[in-house]
Each structure stands twice: as structure tokens, then as C-alpha cells.
């Protein structure tokens, strides 16, 4: 009996081995245009009511005009989209058209999951977006794996009544330097109220994006098979250092807010606990939705470091799965999605900035009566590509090393030197 049992286990093991070899036996489709009518799935991550509605409208209009290419819209969520895509690509169930952001998709591109759209996208789409932004969605082999859509920048929201009550002038002009931000915050801190609230529970993206204002690039992207390398110098650490000083030396930035998410901190801004609130420009939509009556707010000029008001462009993206049977038709839909009217509509709903410059012009025209839009659009003038988007191990480094180290630094439990070491050693330890 015992021998039989062993034989049984052996048999199972052999079967398992065979199964193991079939781990990835499926071939990618060769691509190209499929004949006849096709149905393509499109997973959108839009989540604010206005953008969800705008997306649906775009898809409905497309479907009405294109009986041969039907787009089936599903609603995904930013929360957990990376895990979802890993699983879907592996299981062969990924949607044809994939909405995500550039810093998250380059790893998938390297694993061969994303189709090269360079050959399919129209000239209009190609010309609408600047080369810097195209760089953020181009692999080191020169494949364009996505079309960049909307861009988030970090802006400073201000409660103008709190400024008036403290007798502080609301900053204006082309840019707001970090030093001015720090000084203003100090003036506004009194009576248990803080100058700034900043939901930095996930600090890495914000630091990566704004570090560029001081010339902090963090990574050198290797050529060909060369590994990407990291360098953490003074320029890279300028932004963390300032945030730390505001939170722990000046006490003008609420340190508790640094441990919370952006939307968790928002109620504090709306209730007057924070005179200024730093966050992605998309938060403007939440402010308009939930501000109490009589709440007066504005957006301050773009934050500037020594290199000017430069931020990294980390655009949202539209990609096509390498396994899609009709990449050409999918790209056709993306072209349509990228049209200035559609992009302007989506951008307005989300308070984000279109990567396409005709769409930006359209948006400026549509919003000329809403003054807070101007500084937001202005912050897009100085968007630039940043190496972290090309570094394929960036997502893992961000989770396992950068985020914990920055969180510890912002909680004042490690110093600047430790931060530097952790960021560098962490990158070098990822296989």
C-alpha cells in the first residue's frame, strides 16, 4: 500500500512537471489587422463621476459611428491595477485596450506584453504630443507602447480666507519657489493650525516628479543590456529635505498629514485646519464636490526649484495588449480617443492636463472663465520626461525601498544620510 501511495505521488509529480513546462506555452498573436467586425475590450480607470460619464460618452459615440469595431467598456480601478494586469497578462485575459500610467507600464512592455503602436498611430496623434512626453512611453528599443493622455502635476491649493485672516498675501506670479512656500507656510502656522497639509502616504511619485525642479534625476538608463544605475545626490534629496524641514523644524507642515493619503487630508483643508494643501491637480474635482458653502480657494503658481518650475511628466496612458487580435483597430480607437475635443472633455472632468497640445488649447478656451485653471495649465508648460519612467525595476524599488525609506525620513525616524543609503542600496539589491 505504501509503495502504491509513493507511486501515486510520483505520477502526480511527473504530471506537474509537464504542466510546469507549459507555464507559458501560448504564442503571442502576430498582430496586424483582423478581418471583419471585431469587438475590443477597453478597461478605463476613470473614477470621478464626471470622467466616467465622459469616457462612456466617447465610447458610445465611437460605437455608433463604427459598426465594425465595437468597444466594450469595463470600469477598473487605479487601486491595484498593477497586480490586476500582472495576473491578466499571465492568464491571457487582459483587455485589448489598457488604461494605466507611464511609470507603471514600462515593466510590462519589457516583458513583451504590450504592442508597438508606433506603426499604427496617426500622424495627428503623433504630432499633438511633444517629444519629451513621447519619451515617457517609448522603450529603450524604440517601441512606442502607449499613447499619453492626461498628465497630473503637483499643485498647491490655497484657502484664500485663511490667508486673509492671517494677513498674508496670496502668492502670485509665474512660479512659487520652494523657499517662498516654506516662508508662507511658516507665516500661516498659528493657533493649532498648520500652513500646509500634504497627504504623502505614497511619497515616491511626488518626490520623483518634483525633484526634477532641482535637477534630481535619480537614474541613468543603461544602453542595450546595460543595467540602469541610481545616483542620489543633493539635487535628488532637495525636495525631501525641504518637506522634512517644514514638518519637523518649522512645524508648518502637519507631520500627521504626511502619513495619510491625499483624500484623507482634504477634509482638514476644507475645515480650515490647513491653509495650503499640496497634491495632484485632480484633487480640485474633489474640492469642488465637497467644499462647504462659502469656501474660497485658489491654485498657487507652479512650484519651482533651482531649475525652474519643472516637473516630471508621468502621463496616463492608453496601450494595446500584445495578444490583442486587432491592434490596428485598437490603435484607431486610441486615435479617436486622443482627439482634442475628447481629451479636453476628459481633462476637464478630472482636472488634469492633456498631453496633446491642441487639446490643451481647446481646454484653455473652454475654461477661460474659471481662473483656477490657468495656473494648472501653466504647470504643464514645463513638463519633461524623467528617467525613472524608463527604469524597469522602478515599481519594485518604489514599493520595497523608496516608499519605506521616505516614509521613515518624513516620520523623522531616520536621517538624510540613512535615506540616501537606503535608496541606493535598495536599488542595487534588486535582482
Amino acid at each position: 500500500m505504501k509503495r502504491k501511495a509513493l507511486l501515486g505521488i510520483g505520477a502526480v509529480a511527473v504530471v506537474a512537471l509537464v504542466g510546469g513546462c507549459a507555464f507559458n506555452s501560448e504564442q503571442a498573436d502576430s498582430g496586424g489587422a483582423a478581418d471583419g467586425p471585431v469587438t475590443l475590450t477597453f478597461q478605463s480607470l476613470a473614477y470621478q463621476d464626471s470622467t466616467v460619464a465622459a469616457t462612456k460618452e466617447i465610447v458610445d459615440t465611437w460605437n455608433a459611428e463604427h459598426p465594425d469595431i465595437t468597444i466594450e467598456l469595463t470600469q477598473g480601478s487605479w487601486d491595484g491595477v498593477h497586480d490586476q494586469l500582472v495576473t491578466q497578462f499571465q492568464g491571457g485575459t487582459a483587455p485589448d485596450i489598457i488604461h494605466n500610467e507611464s511609470s507603471d507600464i514600462m515593466g510590462f512592455a519589457e516583458q513583451g506584453y504590450l504592442a508597438d503602436l508606433g506603426q499604427y498611430l496617426s500622424e495627428d496623434t503623433t504630432n499633438a504630443v511633444s517629444d519629451e512626453v513621447w519619451d515617457t512611453v517609448t522603450t529603450r528599443d524604440g517601441e512606442v507602447v502607449a499613447a499619453p493622455t492626461l498628465i497630473q502635476t503637483y499643485v498647491v491649493f490655497a484657502n484664500t480666507d485663511a490667508f486673509a485672516a492671517a494677513g498674508v498675501e496670496v502668492p502670485s506670479g509665474d512660479q512659487l519657489s520652494w523657499d517662498d512656500l516654506q516662508a508662507t507656510a511658516k507665516q500661516l502656522t498659528r493657533d493649532g493650525k498648520f500652513g500646509v497639509g500634504w497627504g504623502l502616504r505614497q511619497p515616491t511619485a511626488a518626490v520623483m516628479n518634483t525633484a526634477l525642479g532641482f535637477g534630481g534625476t535619480y537614474f541613468d538608463i543603461g544602453e542595450g543590456d546595460e543595467a540602469d544605475t541610481i545616483h542620489v545626490g543633493d539635487a535628488e534629496l532637495a525636495v525631501p529635505e525641504r518637506i522634512h524641514a517644514m514638518a519637523h523644524e518649522d512645524r508648518s507642515l502637519d507631520p500627521v498629514s504626511l502619513t495619510q493619503s491625499g483624500s484623507d487630508v482634504l477634509p482638514g483643508f476644507l475645515s480650515g485646519k490647513y491653509a495650503m494643501y499640496v497634491g495632484g491637480n485632480y484633487l480640485a474635482q474633489q474640492i469642488t464636490e465637497s467644499a462647504p458653502e462659502g469656501f474660497n480657494w485658489t491654485v498657487l503658481p507652479p512650484l519651482a526649484g533651482t531649475e525652474g518650475p519643472v516637473q516630471a511628466a508621468n502621463p496616463q496612458t492608453m496601450s494595446v495588449s500584445a495578444r490583442s487580435e486587432a491592434p490596428e483597430q485598437a490603435a484607431e480607437f486610441i486615435d479617436y480617443f486622443m482627439s482634442p475635443e475628447n481629451q479636453a472633455k476628459l481633462a476637464q472632468g478630472d482636472w488634469l492636463i492633456p498631453a496633446s497640445s491642441p487639446a490643451r488649447d481647446e481646454l484653455a478656451e473652454q475654461t477661460k472663465d474659471t481662473p483656477v485653471w490657468q495656473p494648472m495649465l501653466a504647470s504643464a508648460e514645463n513638463l519633461s520626461g524623467a528617467p525613472f519612467q524608463q527604469a524597469s525595476k522602478y515599481p519594485q524599488w518604489k514599493d520595497q525601498y523608496a516608499t519605506p525609506a521616505l516614509q521613515q525620513y518624513f516620520a523623522d525616524s531616520i536621517g538624510l544620510g540613512d535615506l540616501r543609503t537606503k535608496l541606493t542600496d535598495g536599488w542595487n539589491s534588486i535582482e
Binding site: 502526480v12 504530471v15 506537474a16 497578462f89 500584445a322
Partner: protein
């Protein structure tokens, strides 16, 4: 209780290999078990064996990625993977603290419920509720409770004049303790009810005899109740330890392992390796190590218990 346990007639054990009324019991048994056996072998035993083997391969995410056996490479790599050991340590702290504290809290509650107190029914019902709640919801509820600005816990702290702006789940020093408290809350029902059932089987005569001998409440508890409860205690604490070590949903929703990996239980860590970074082979290797360690603890614990019972 009108339960199976207290039925006066114990069912007579049928003779080996013979059913209720003779016949070829062995074959019948197989036929009866087969419908359960097939899905279990196909979707549980087979994946499990494959999973163990996967821990010895370099399986990774990627289109047409070849998979090769790489022997013990995963394990040598694991040896100096600091993050994994940190997560492992957190897992052990979590599993042991929750199990021990949960046991003590549950024992106290079970003893109280075993007394003839008023409102006992209400306490008993309340003690059961967390069992029925989905772990995701328990996590959401406690997340709201622990919210630094609007949660009732900080509000209470402020009323008492204590610092009321602690971000329990976001602060490096408080995140793990806070998560452990939620773990205790979530797991108390099973432990309490099991202990209570065990208590109700402790025979009254023993207590009376001890009382006649002049033993006080504490002595009776120590010398009568506890020894009688022992098998139940060993069983439930072993199960709790396994369940806690392998738990996932609660902490995934509460903190997702943060801040800075302070609550990164091994299950979360392995999940991330597999479904975030696409290192399937490595994740399976982590699973293998977890099984070996938890099995070792159990063997030690159960053997120690058996030995001290014999002596």
C-alpha cells in the same frame, strides 16, 4: 446542550471494513468518496504538488518566458534577502501575539459566559458577530475607527486629554500593535466558543470534590479546570497559530503591509512577489519555507504538550 457531544448513547463503532450492514464496505466507501476526491485531487492536491515544485523553478512573468528548474537557487537567494526575513519576523510577532492574547482574552470571556450572569446572551451573541463578518469589512470598519482625524478612538483620546492625532495605522511604531488588536478582535469568536464548549464539558463533580477539599476559586481553576480543558486549548491554539500565520485579507485591506513594510506579513510579501513583481517561482519558494517553519513550530508545540501530559 442538546448536542452530539452530550448524547448518552455513543454510536457503536462498526467493525473494520464493514458497513452498517455487511457487504463490500471498502468498495462502497470508495464510490461514496469519489465525488469529493476527484475535485480535491484535481484542484487541490495537484496544484499543491505543482506549487511545491514551482518553488524550485525560476518561473517569472513575461510573454513566452521559459521555465527551468534552478535547484536551490531560490533558497540561497532567500537566505540573504533582508526584506523577506524582516517580513518573516513580523509574521511571527503577529501570529504569536495574536494567538496568545486572543487565547487569554477568550479564556476570560468564556469563563464569564460560563457563569450565570445576566445579559450573558447578549455578550455571547456579540462574541460571535466578528466570525460572521467578512474580513474585508472588519478591516474597513477598523480603518474608520482608527482614522486619525475622524475616528472615535482618537476622539476618545482627546476627551481624556491624551494626544489625539496619532495615525495608528500610518505611524511606524503603532501600526503593528494596532493591526494585532484588530486581529484579536476578528479571531476571538472561534476561540471563545471552543473554550466555552470545553468548559461546559468539565464535570461539576470535580469542582465539588475540590471545593470540599478546601480549594479556593483560583486553585480550582488551576488544578481542575485548566487540566480538563487542556486538549481543547492545545487544539484551538494550534489552529489559531496556523490561521494567523497564513492570514491575508485583514491586513491587506488595513495597511497593505505599510507603513514602510511594518505590517508586511509573509503572506502579503509572497503575494507581492508573485502578483506584483511577477516572480512566481520565488513566491512559491517563500510558501515552501513558510510551510516548513509553521510545521516545525506545530510539531514542537504538540510534542511538548504530549510529553507534559504523559509525565
Amino acid at each position: 446542550m442538546t448536542t452530539a457531544t452530550s448524547r448518552p448513547v455513543r454510536p457503536r463503532r462498526p467493525p473494520r471494513g464493514v458497513g452498517g450492514f455487511g457487504g463490500n464496505g471498502g468498495r462502497d466507501a470508495w464510490l461514496l468518496v469519489l465525488p469529493a476526491l476527484i475535485p480535491v485531487v484535481l484542484f487541490s492536491v495537484y496544484p499543491l504538488v505543482q506549487g511545491i515544485l514551482l518553488g524550485f523553478t525560476d518561473a517569472q512573468a513575461g510573454l513566452n518566458q521559459p521555465v527551468d528548474f534552478n535547484g536551490v537557487d531560490n533558497y540561497t537567494r532567500l537566505l540573504d534577502h533582508d526584506l523577506f526575513w524582516k517580513s518573516f519576523r513580523i509574521g511571527l510577532i503577529w501570529a504569536f501575539s495574536v494567538t496568545i492574547l486572543q487565547f487569554l482574552a477568550s479564556l476570560g470571556l468564556a469563563l464569564l459566559l460560563n457563569l450565570n450572569l445576566r445579559l450573558r446572551w447578549l455578550a455571547r451573541t456579540l462574541a460571535l458577530v466578528p466570525w460572521a463578518m467578512p474580513p474585508v469589512i472588519i478591516a474597513i470598519m477598523w480603518k474608520l475607527m482608527l482614522n486619525p482625524s475622524y475616528g472615535p478612538i482618537n476622539e476618545l483620546m482627546r476627551t481624556l486629554g491624551l494626544p489625539g492625532d496619532i495615525n495608528w495605522l500610518g505611524d511606524f511604531s503603532t501600526a503593528l500593535p494596532a493591526v494585532i488588536v484588530v486581529g484579536i478582535w476578528a479571531g476571538m469568536p472561534q476561540t471563545t466558543i471552543t473554550l466555552l464548549a470545553g468548559l461546559q464539558n468539565v464535570r461539576g463533580e470535580l469542582h465539588e470534590a475540590a471545593a470540599i477539599d478546601g480549594a479556593g476559586t483560583w486553585q480550582r481553576f488551576w488544578h481542575v479546570t485548566l487540566p480538563a480543558l487542556r486538549p481543547v486549548i492545545v487544539a484551538i491554539t494550534s489552529l489559531d497559530l496556523i490561521w494567523n500565520f497564513n492570514s491575508f485579507a485583514l491586513v491587506y485591506v488595513l495597511t497593505a503591509g505599510g507603513p514602510g513594510g511594518q505590517t508586511m506579513l509573509p503572506m502579503l510579501f509572497a503575494y507581492n512577489e508573485a502578483f506584483r513583481y511577477g516572480n512566481f517561482g520565488y513566491a512559491a519558494a517563500l510558501g515552501n519555507v513558510m510551510v516548513v517553519v509553521i510545521a516545525a513550530f506545530l510539531v514542537l508545540y504538540l510534542r511538548g504538550q504530549a510529553r507534559s501530559r504523559d509525565s
